[in-house]
């Protein structure tokens, strides 16, 4: 059963960027469709308990919940009058550009239980990709033990289920995002044995003036500081987890200090015992599969992530394709909202052509200024929280790098040395890194760094994001494609 519907604007993702884009475009008269893999709007930042069982989320686990409620009201109002059609619980697994717009293929996120209904094919004149991102990972001995999760994954677990995935946690990696994760754990009743931040916070000093221009961020910082004091959470800077220990699940972690060059300091090791959960987060990786598949121009941002190139209207290099939120640069929810508004306005304007020029330009200037402030803050954050240069030192030959295909650091080193595999694509064909279920989403950054000679190159990261389908789909879904050629390139899964 394949049905197709045509809209003015399609929006992929209903996180901060997607909600803002959808509500804005619908308000401006466009016929909008929004698709999100999750069962309800909110994205990663505003993930919350199921609305049917917990209709009154008080936002206590969230920042800026008021903004969410405001955006959500606009989103729901548009849906109520029929100018916005929302398909939750469905993933876009392929996007193609055609003469008069875009064709999206969707599938239910879950094939069991409450598989979400919706059209398999959606067509729209303009497309706004607000696909967000996920925690960036670095492999470390023992990171494949049950109990080790992405830091954001722990937070998502708490926000969605109101429960904890463990009792005593260590949260490690880099970036201000480790703070809300630890605070959420403590507020939900968990113990946080330590937060290990690899950076030396003096990295912020040159940027304090920039950071101070974002008042909401500063406020958030003080709230976390209070929460840390209240729950006695030890916050250790220049500290990394170099090993996770346990037989069939996490039992302990080994930490070490890193010097100002990001290299671990001999003799500084410490063991933290009685730990049953570890959360790792080294910044975020944007979900670039769909923009890359559509041919959008990309760049490597200050944090080393591959992101889409956009103009002042969030328009990509592909006509009619807009990118907002993490996919145009990892910068937090507040920036994602502003970019979503800009993209929503621009996408609606190019379909309707009825906006008043005078009103637009004043608002455009205001939005551009706001986005500029948040971007400067994001840049300061990226520079202050780099991935430590010496992270590869803590790998052992037997350390798993690609979790899906179980490729070790030793396999990768051998392929590099003997087979001249110096980018992720060659590494993939030699060692199978990135060939498994996750398609390299988890190990792509690390493999690009390990294969390359000077970190992860844009070319290598792009090859990781280049996939014929953005999520694994069934053969019967592939058969719905009329395009034979696409079929041929996707059957290796």
């Amino acid at each position: 059963m394949s049905s197709s519907q045509h809209y003015d604007v399609a929006i992929i993702g209903a996180g901060p960027a997607g909600l803002a884009a959808a509500a804005t475009a619908a308000e401006r008269g466009a016929r909008v469709v929004c698709i999100d893999a999750n069962d309800q709007p909110g994205g990663q930042f505003w993930r919350h308990r199921p609305e049917d069982t917990h209709p009154e989320d008080d936002g206590s686990l969230h920042h800026d919940w008021k903004t969410y409620l405001r955006l959500r009201a606009g989103f729901d109002a548009a849906a109520a009058v029929g100018s916005l059609c929302f398909y939750p619980g469905r993933q876009v697994w392929m996007a193609q550009r055609e003469d008069n717009g875009f064709t999206l293929r969707t599938t239910a996120s879950a094939q069991a239980g409450r598989a979400a209904p919706g059209p398999q094919t959606v067509r729209a004149t303009q497309l706004v990709v607000c696909a967000g991102g996920y925690d960036r990972q670095l492999p470390v001995p023992g990171w494949d033990l049950p109990g080790v999760m992405a830091a954001g994954g722990i937070q998502a677990f708490i926000k969605a289920n109101g429960m904890l995935p463990g009792k005593r946690f260590v949260v490690a990696g880099t970036g201000p995002f480790l703070l809300p994760v630890a605070a959420n754990i403590a507020e939900a009743g968990g113990a946080v044995a330590a937060v290990c931040e690899s950076a030396d916070l003096t990295g912020w000093f040159p940027h304090l003036a920039t950071a101070a221009r974002v008042p909401a961020k500063a406020l958030e910082g003080t709230e976390y500081a209070k929460s840390f004091l209240k729950h006695r959470i030890p916050y250790r800077t220049r500290t990394v987890v170099t090993e996770v220990l346990g037989s069939d699940r996490v039992q302990a972690v080994r930490t070490a200090k890193v010097d100002s060059h990001g290299r671990t300091v001999q003799g500084s090791e410490r063991l933290i015992e009685d730990v049953d959960a570890v959360g790792f987060g080294w910044g975020f990786t944007a979900q670039m599969e769909l923009p890359v598949a559509l041919g959008a121009e990309t760049r490597v941002d200050d944090d080393g992530s591959l992101v889409g190139v956009v103009d002042s209207q969030q328009h990509s290099s592909v006509p009619g394709l807009y990118l907002a939120g993490e996919v145009s640069g990892v910068g937090g929810a507040a920036l994602a909202v502003v970019e979503g508004v800009i993209a929503g306005r621009a996408a609606a304007a190019s379909t309707a052509a009825q906006s008043s020029a005078a009103e637009s330009s004043a608002a455009d200037v205001r939005l551009a200024r706001k986005a500029g402030t948040y971007r400067a803050f994001a840049r300061a954050m990226h520079l202050a929280h780099p991935v430590p240069a010496g992270w590869q030192d803590w790998l052992r030959p037997e350390t798993t790098v690609c979790r899906c295909e179980e490729v070790t650091a030793g396999d990768i080193a051998a392929a590099k040395e003997h087979l001249c595999a110096t980018d992720a694509r060659t590494m993939k064909s030699m060692t199978r890194t990135g060939m498994g279920w996750c398609q390299g989403k988890v190990c792509g950054f690390a493999v690009s760094c390990l294969a390359g000679t000077e970190g992860a190159s844009a070319e290598s990261l792009r090859s990781v994001a280049k996939r014929p389908v953005s999520v694994p789909v069934t053969l019967s879904e592939l058969l719905t494609l009329e395009d034979e050629q696409v079929l041929e390139t996707t059957t290796d899964h």
Binding site: A110, A112, Y134, G147, G153, F157, G162, C438
Partner: protein, 91 residues
């Protein structure tokens, strides 16, 4: 107020609050892994928690390879996965 949902994991009863995911239901019932890797047979459970990594794959109502972090637990659901060796030691 949400009520309890009754399901099974490998034919044993599994109970959790309505509104939780299959992954969360397993975790709160002391099951931290439900899949073994192909090559090394290593145990796996939740990792990314948001549908990206596919580490949490499990069989739900006969549908293989469902992401436990993305599927919501429903009444009578039959979940099947690899038996964790160490779950008993936990208690």
């Amino acid at each position: 107020m949400s009520h309890k949902i009754n399901a099974t994991f490998n034919d044993r009863p599994l109970t959790a609050e309505d509104g939780t995911t299959v992954g969360a239901a397993l975790m709160t019932n002391g099951v931290t892994s439900w899949r073994n890797t192909r090559k090394e047979g290593r145990p796996r459970g939740l990792f990314c928690g948001i549908g990206v990594c596919f580490d949490c794959l499990v069989d739900v109502d006969g549908e293989p390879n469902q992401r436990a972090c993305m599927v919501r637990l429903t009444e009578g659901m039959r979940i099947n996965g690899a038996e964790p060796d160490t779950a008993e030691e936990e208690a």
